[in-house]
């Protein structure tokens, strides 16, 4: 029989061992599957996981892909700690992209150092408003934020669609549903000469650091966490549930909106009907993989981003269908989530002590 018992002491390396085991399990499963397809596991795995990282270009693209995941992941980690279920970061991201993009288009062709901050502010406000709606409805009418934030995601995507099919359409674009390309003053600077890694990644790291500080040292972080853990304890301490709901959703909305405007101005360069391949939902996974620790969101976000890049590399160089890579992403996540048990518990073989 196999037994699980709590560790008396949890050491820092237990986390890493758990992650390593999960990665090894993924590699083992992947090797077995590749071998069964008649492919050489070693060279195949190299092509999928390592080669994308062997060039500046590849690293740059990895950072670009990870940027929204980390940014939103940090904000969600704070909110989830407070027990506020903001499932609608995707919608807040879309609104951020839409509003920020609209500002960029309003100042199209106008240069000035102030354009970019204004664009970022516009996007942040857009996301903030979209996060404020579920907060208001929750506080004022006791309407559950899971439903409201999720439903608003679909509304935001349709709103973006209306706008790029109509008012924000490129006037010279033959009525195709795309905006103009943003001009240079409304485009985020790149980090490298190759790829699309942009300074949004630096912001993401800053958010993670800031988030850690909020959790550890700022009273608000403590207050939010207490409210998240126990409503009665919070009430006893005089903490307001409403305040926590507001803070969690406003932070989540504003930061997701920021991620959205960073995505359109740093990565895409214009408004299009689809600005996010479900970053807002994937960031939920990232937040929990990091066990809601803002700093740990960085490696979690990079790992998940790599799994997407690896999926494309697998299609390109091995010709496996996209569905296979999706299955493997699922497996990788299962392994990562399943082995997190090893951090706080150890597995004993044999009889019960």
């Amino acid at each position: 029989m196999i037994f699980v018992e709590a560790r008396a002491v949890t050491r820092w390396y237990h986390e890493w061992i758990a992650v390593l085991i999960a990665l090894l399990l993924t590699v083992a499963t992947a090797s077995a599957l590749l071998a069964s397809l008649g492919l050489d596991p070693v060279s195949s795995l190299h092509r999928i996981f390592i080669r994308p990282l062997t060039s500046v270009y590849g690293v740059s693209e990895l950072l670009a892909k990870a940027t929204p995941l980390i940014t939103i992941g940090v904000a969600l980690a704070l909110g989830f700690r407070a027990g506020v279920w903001n499932i609608g970061a995707e919608g807040q991201l879309v609104m951020g992209g839409l509003c920020g993009g609209a500002v960029a288009l309003a100042f199209w062709g106008i240069d000035g150092f102030w354009v970019m901050p204004l664009v970022l502010l516009g996007g942040t406000l857009g996301g903030l408003v979209w996060g404020a709606i579920p907060a208001f409805l929750k506080v004022r009418f006791n309407a559950n934020e899971i439903l409201v934030s999720l439903m608003l995601t679909y509304v935001a995507i349709l709103l973006l669609s209306v706008m790029v099919h109509g008012p924000l359409r490129d006037p010279e674009g033959f009525n195709f549903p795309e905006s103009r390309l943003f001009h240079d003053a409304a485009t985020l600077p790149k980090l490298f000469s190759a790829g699309r890694g942009h300074i949004g990644f630096i912001f993401a790291i800053l958010f993670a650091v800031l988030g850690t500080w909020v959790v550890k040292y700022w009273h608000l972080g403590f207050e939010m966490r207490v409210t998240g853990l126990s409503t009665s304890a919070a009430r006893f301490a005089g903490y307001s549930r409403d305040r926590t709901v507001w803070m969690a959703l406003l932070i989540g909305g504003a930061v997701s909106g920021f991620a959205g405007v960073v995505e359109v101005t740093g990565n895409i360069g214009q408004l299009v009907p689809n600005i996010s391949p479900s970053y807002g939902f994937t960031a939920i996974i990232v937040a929990f993989l990091a066990r809601l620790h803002p700093l740990a969101v960085i490696p979690a976000g990079l790992l998940v981003a790599l799994s997407y890049l690896a999926g494309e590399a697998a299609q390109l160089s091995l010709g496996v269908p996209a569905a296979t890579t999706q299955v493997f992403q699922g497996l990788l996540l299962f392994f990562l989530l399943g082995t997190s048990l090893l951090v706080n518990y150890r597995i004993r073989l044999g009889r019960v002590v």
């Binding site: 899971i146 439903l147 439903m151 066990r291 269908p321 999706q326 299955v327 299962f334 399943g338 997190s340």
Partner: protein, 307 residues
């Protein structure tokens, strides 16, 4: 048409809403046991494929429904193992389950693209179907529609009248107390997850067997998420899941008819209606009944047996 437009609209609403009813009930039973499973979308699509494959192989409807339910349960058991035994975070595991289910169904389902399942016969309820207007709208449907209503009724009875249901709710409300009373929290949640997986699987199968009826990858197109939202809308009560699903499905269908009748509003605005109406309805309900519509106490919290 031999029936009036109104009747036809109601008939279509019932069909469009039924997958949401099944999937919503599947999410509900799990949540009442304290398990938040965001993998409904993945469970639905796997059920959709399994049911479709069975129908194509020539098995009768009842067998296909069981196959879909079994497939949903099988996939859900992965979730149960991770969440209950390995204490994995349920929210992230549910999302991973969705990814996994979508990928798995796409992989296994590519061979079924281009094939069509046999049509499911309607079970016309004698007598009732002659009632003007609603007779056709409500009493001449495929058997699964009636099953969805029966399921909601059964679940209502189970949760409110039966001892087992009481235990399940106790586990969902406060798993530590339930545990100290000697109930197996893990065992009960495991059964709830399997049942929920089965129901979500049937919900998916309804799409491929009746509503669409064909299989293409990704065809659930977000219905699993709507089902999750509807459980919240229903404040975790079975019959309100039906109400929520019919409201959502109703607005979706009516806006399509509105367009065909020539309403001049941009279609995207109309497509937003089901979501906005659901939010408004929730706000009205939630602001009227304070307190009683809160989520199960232990929802989404991992239970760890302490020895």
């Amino acid at each position: 048409m031999e029936y009036g437009l109104f009747t036809s609209i109601i008939h279509a609403i019932v069909i469009a809403s039924t997958p949401l009813v099944f999937a919503g009930l599947g999410a509900l039973i799990q949540e009442r046991a304290g398990v938040l499973n965001l993998g409904i979308e993945g469970l639905m699509i796997v059920g959709a494929l399994a049911g479709f494959a069975s129908a194509l192989a020539g098995y009768p409807l009842i067998v296909s429904v069981f196959v879909a339910a079994f497939a949903g349960s099988a996939l859900a058991s992965i979730f149960a193992l991770l969440v209950l035994r390995l204490y994995a975070n349920p929210v992230a595991t549910g999302l991973a389950l969705t990814l996994f289910g979508l990928g798995l169904s796409a992989l296994a389902g590519s061979q079924y693209v281009g094939q069509a399942a046999p049509q499911v016969a309607e079970w016309i309820i004698p007598g009732l179907n002659h009632i003007p207007v609603i007779g056709r709208a409500f009493f001449s449907h495929d058997p699964l529609v009636y099953l969805s209503i029966v399921m909601a009724g059964t679940m209502w009875w189970f949760l409110t009248k039966s001892r087992a249901g009481l235990i399940l709710r106790a586990v969902g409300e406060n798993h530590s107390s339930a545990h100290s009373l000697g109930f197996s929290v893990i065992g009960i949640r495991f059964l709830a997850i399997l049942t929920g997986g089965a129901l979500a699987g049937i919900g998916g199968a309804y799409l491929t067997l009746v509503q669409t009826p064909l299989f293409v990858e990704g065809m659930t197109a977000g219905r699993g998420w709507i089902a999750l939202a509807l459980v919240v809308f229903a404040s975790w009560r079975p019959f309100r899941v039906i109400a929520g699903a019919y409201l959502f499905g109703g607005v979706s269908i009516v806006q399509l008819h509105g367009q065909a009748l020539g309403i001049s509003i941009a279609a995207q605005w109309l497509s937003m209606l089901p979501y906005l109406v659901t939010i408004c309805a929730l706000v009205i309900i939630a602001s009227r009944v304070k307190g009683e519509n809160s989520a199960p106490g232990s929802l989404g919290i991992t239970f760890k047996e302490s020895k």
